[in-house]
């Protein structure tokens, strides 16, 4: 059983997935951030692989990507850092990024090395379902990685079912049609969330985009198995001047306690 499946087997509500850009705020922050997130209650970690042109991201995550690139983060550096990860990090880890850097690294080589380092799944928002089915899905499966598709309030029911079928690990429900970090009112999306709940999807569902504090985390968790926080955590790290343990603790306590 994959680490992600094992997590959801054990815990099916209020699952907290926290996003951080790898190499942010400093090149060597990646592991300390992951250790702090695990220690203070994150159930799952989503590591962003920085890219020069992150289409789906709002200004805060964009800025963290630029900073990480300036710090020298690359896929090669990241996979090097992650080799040591499983000595200290037990929670499932998902890599999120865009196709171009992964293609340059070599798709299969990337999957192989990520899997060897103990990565559990991938989120590549600009990998389309057609190319997944015809080309890349088999490679991802070969290395035992989960692949997580996104759905949005604009995704048709038929397509939600299809994307759920292609996904493993969990399904990523984007809370509103937006880039990351936009404040849109979650209550407006109640019909969509309730629909997802009724659809008897194969995968657990985590809601992401716009989850930023205890109230939004709790609201999202009432509709799904849990939620994903990104922008708000990046902001907390931005203000922390390099120290990651203390702001991570403070941030997670503000959400979980």
């Amino acid at each position: 059983m994959s680490r992600i499946a094992e997590l959801f087997g054990r815990k099916s509500s209020r699952v907290l997935n926290v996003y951080c850009t790898a190499g942010f705020p400093a090149l060597e922050s990646t592991l300390p951030v992951m250790q702090a997130l695990q220690q203070h209650g994150a159930d799952l970690i989503e590591l962003g692989m920085p890219y020069s042109d992150p289409l789906a991201d709002g200004p805060v995550i964009q800025a963290s990507s630029m900073k990480a690139l300036e710090n020298g983060m690359t896929i090669a550096v990241l996979l090097g850092q992650l080799k040591e990860m499983r000595k200290t990090v037990q929670v499932p880890v998902v890599l999120m990024g865009y196709m171009n850097p992964v293609l340059q690294y070599g798709f299969e080589r990337f999957c192989k090395e990520a899997s060897e380092a103990g990565v559990d799944g991938l989120i590549l928002p600009d990998l389309p379902a057609y190319e997944f089915e015809t080309e890349y899905g088999a490679v991802i499966k070969k290395y035992g990685l989960d692949f997580i598709f996104l759905v949005t309030p604009e995704t048709s029911d038929e397509r939600i079912l299809a994307l759920d079928k292609l996904s493993s690990g969990f399904l990523y429900a984007v809370s509103s049609s937006s880039t990351t970090g936009k404040d849109k009112n979650m209550a407006d999306q109640e019909t969509y969330f309730n629909k997802l709940k009724q659809m008897q999807l194969k995968n657990p569902v985590l809601i992401g985009f716009g989850i930023k504090d205890k109230a939004t985390f709790t609201a999202a968790s009432s509709y799904a198995n849990g939620a994903i926080i990104g922008t708000a955590y990046i902001k907390a790290l931005e203000q922390a001047n390099g120290n990651v343990a203390q702001p991570t603790q403070q941030f997670l306590e503000s959400i979980l306690q």
Partner: protein, 396 residues
Amino acid sequence: MGTTTFQQPDTQGYYGPFGGAYIPEMLHRNVEELRSRYLDIMQEAGFQKEFQQLLRDYVGRPTPLFLAERLSKHYNTPVYLKREDLNHTGAHKINNAIGQVLLAQRLGKKRIIAETGAGQHGVATATVCALKGIECIVYMGSKDIERQAPNVARMRMLGATVIPATSGSQTLKDATNEAIRDWINNPTDTHYVIGSVVGPHPYPDMVARFQSVISEETRAQLKEQTGKELPTRVIACVGGGSNAAGAFYHFLDEPSVELVAVEAAGHGVYSGLSAATTQLGKPGVLHGSKSLVMQTEDGQVVEPHSISAGLDYPGIGPLHAHLFNSGRGSFLSATDDDAVQAAFLLCKLEGIIPALESSHALAALTQLKLQPNEATVLCLSGRGDKDLATYMKRLD
């Protein structure tokens, strides 16, 4: 695929190995709506009537095919200029802007967004939106806003809102990113008018079709003027590749016609300050399609350089990547200096001030082996008014 057509991508939008729709799910509904409807709408009689009428009465089409006699004498070969510079707003960009805005209206969209580099596509889109009374928002890199002040003023006069793209390198690729992000955040009422044959399927095919009027007219005009069915070659500059796609379109599947695409070499292809994507790029994904992309070893998109803002793009449309890869197209490049020289030559010999982009196509004439009994068509994609500041610096 073998010997099938170069004109048509496959059902997934692939030209050979290039194309597709590499988009996040947040864009899926809009892109899918467009994909499922663009061909039907473009074939509607009402659409065609309005489109053709505007091309004729508003844009001023057909544009002339002009035998440039003194230029021909200079190169000892007949050179025909396809005068897209004579279009309203001064470039070929308006052909596509009209097509897409009419299409957006039929999709029920109330809000138009666009990206622009030099400002030509932004001006064309703002123009058509003014004509149709539709809200228009143009994203432009904050560096380009500084470099292209007159076009920024034009867009504002035409009623468009110009929003600076302050992310990344603050030029065309970032303006494109911002426009895409706007579309993600406005999923129902907005149409994104992409300015070249780039972006996710169906954009490359749709924009090529709207620009194909260039070669449709050329073919008829050449026949009428010379009796020849086909030219020996067609030359066009390539940024994203829309004027080239339009100029090549009706010759793509005529193997005897040499298709010459000219990229911007900046200070020299290997100078580190260049925009020659086929020479420097590797296969990758940019702005929703798989194509050739200028990038670092780590897959980060690099900032290109060209004296001409319209060619200053680190990618190239998937059709052109396929033309390059398959050998169907000849890809040349011209440096900043080559282009400026070619522009001054055209001014002196023909009394035409070309856009800096088009000057790259003109510069290719010095690199080709041209024969007296041939017919070379060159797409003069735009006029040089917008480039006067640059030209003035080079006038000794």
